[in-house]
């Protein structure tokens, strides 16, 4: 069973205590955005086979949103970090690169 550590309250929670929230770091465009940009924000997903960054909510715990880096191939969790970040932190990127040789990095 997937276990993630909530960076908000520090609890290590099992999957049943958490609610998945889809791809992280999606860029929401403003009112002047093109249709293509808005479509990409709404629907187009990386859905990567490999390292994924995603949103989770500690639904049956502190209730807060946070972000996680995970492998969709091995289900290994690389780390979790606060939702108030617009890109994965550098130390997490370094840790993933050490674990996953050949990974191209966060775009």
């Amino acid at each position: 069973m997937l276990t993630l550590t909530c960076p908000c309250c520090g609890v290590t929670a099992e999957e049943t205590e958490l609610a998945p929230g889809g791809e992280a770091h999606l860029k929401r465009f403003g009112p002047g955005a093109s249709e293509a940009e808005f479509e990409a924000y709404m629907f187009a997903r990386a859905n990567t086979k490999g390292v994924v960054f995603e949103r989770w909510r500690h639904a049956y715990g502190c209730g807060k949103w946070f972000l996680a880096a995970r492998s969709s191939v091995t289900l290994e969790v690389f780390g979790t970090y606060p939702a108030q970040t617009s890109a994965p932190p550098a130390d997490l990127i370094a840790a993933i690169k050490a674990r996953v040789p050949g990974w191209e990095g966060y775009p």
Binding site: L2, E35, R45, A46, N47, T48, S72
Partner: protein, 415 residues
């Protein structure tokens, strides 16, 4: 190809059954094909088959990274129905269901289509209203379904508990011509027919890159070397985003694990398919006597073909509540498949940013039932370069235009 028939069985029996030929050839890749279909699941094979049968296009390869039918096609619980809510879905799924009726004859291969009847239980007032609405929609669409009350449900499914403590059975949406088919046989039957038309099914041949120039696909790179093509059809279910990335575009798809399980074989006890969407479980009995059971999908991206444990528990719990008689059954096997989920829970049959490249995906948890209709519509799209009436509403442009074919509200679990 030697035809299968009662005479063939008799003839081969004379030779102690040593004379049967292989159902399909295992050729080496040619340098170029008019059409390459990526993915030898049911949808890819059916696409190839109807390209030959309906359009005479037979210089075709179906490229498969594993073995044919080894993806979701060989992992699903084989429910066939067409009682969808929206008109485009009803048209496509009913086309498929009606093709299933004659598929064994068409392919000269017994796909064991068993229109044993299918019940979608209503266990809340909301579902009662929803399914009555679906019955009315189906009437207008020419799809034969009807609403039945709890008494008739009990008569059809004697082992059901209609006054369960949490969710008593208030009635059901009944499609008498829904049912099941043998999943492997569907893949094998199409594969054999494709091979007989001269098409190459290339197994253990993984596509690793899509080569392109000037907005068109030129060919693919595979683990068996490069192959050129005139047109490319990507039909890889849970791996659609991976192939799309190779081709340079993104899809509105998330790949998630869906699981199923079967019990030890027991004597016949249920001769219809029952789906209980509120409690998330569904059940039918295979010809071998096993109860075939499925439930809900995980909620996160996963390519492991392994689902979360709690879903098995939830599914089994839901079914024991509905069928207390099975509570002591042992479960024999459990497995997972990676399903390709779209936001509106409807498939994608579409052109792509590359002129000669087409995608068929997004069948998610419920594409087995659609295989013949999907192949039929996809073959037309690939052959003509434009969708026909069956595929027209299922293009990728529907997301940009907000023209969803929303089946997610119609059924929480849609198999």
């Amino acid at each position: 190809m030697k035809r299968y028939s009662v005479f063939a069985v008799a003839r081969e029996a004379m030779n102690w059954h040593t004379g049967w030929e292989r159902a399909w050839r295992s050729p080496e890749p040619r340098r170029r094909y008019d059409v390459i279909v990526v993915g030898a699941g049911g949808h890819g094979l059916a696409t190839a088959y109807y390209l030959g049968r309906n359009f005479g296009i037979t210089n075709v390869a179906v490229v498969e990274k594993g073995w044919l039918g080894g993806g979701n096609t060989g992992r699903n619980t084989t429910i066939i129905r067409s009682n969808y809510l929206q008109d485009p879905s009803a048209a496509l799924y009913e086309k498929a269901r009606s093709l299933y009726e004659g598929l064994s004859q068409d392919l000269n291969y017994n796909v064991m289509f068993s229109p044993r009847g299918l019940l979608m239980l209503a266990q809340t007032e909301h579902e009662v209203r929803g399914y009555k609405r679906t019955v009315n929609a189906n009437l207008l669409q020419g799809v034969e379904t009807r609403w039945i009350g709890p008494g008739e449900v009990k008569a059809l499914v004697p082992i059901i508990n209609i006054d369960g403590p949490r969710y008593p059975i208030l009635g059901a949406l009944y499609q008498e011509r829904g049912g099941t088919a043998r999943h492997d046989a569907v893949a094998w039957g199409y594969a054999r027919a494709c091979s007989a038309m001269g098409m190459d099914i290339l197994q253990n041949c993984e596509v690793t890159a899509v080569r392109q120039a000037n907005g068109a696909v030129q060919g693919i790179d595979t683990s068996k070397g490069p192959i050129d093509c005139g047109k490319l059809a990507i039909v890889v279910a849970g791996h659609s985003s991976v192939l799309a990335e190779m081709a340079g575009f993104r899809l509105p798809i998330e790949s998630m694990a869906l699981q199923a399980l079967v019990s030890e074989p027991i004597k016949p006890c249920i001769d219809v398919v029952v789906m209980a969407n509120t409690v998330h479980g569904y059940i039918s009995q295979s010809d071998k006597g096993e109860l075939v059971i499925g439930g809900g999908t995980d909620g996160f991206v996963n390519y492991t073909q392994r689902g979360s444990w709690q879903h098995i528990e939830e599914t089994v719990r839901a079914l024991i509540e509905t069928f207390p008689v099975i509570s002591r059954l042992k479960m024999l096997r459990q497995w997972g498949g990676i399903v390709d989920m779209t936001g509106d829970r409807s498939p994608i049959l579409s052109k792509t940013p590359l002129g000669n490249c087409f995608v068929n995906c997004g069948w998610g948890t419920g594409g087995f039932k659609a295989i013949p209709g999907s192949g039929w519509a996809m073959a037309e799209l690939v052959a003509k370069g434009e969708p026909g009436p069956l595929a027209a509403d299922f293009g990728l442009d529907r997301f940009r235009e907000g023209r969803f074919i929303d089946e997610s509200v119609a059924a929480g679990v849609a198999h």
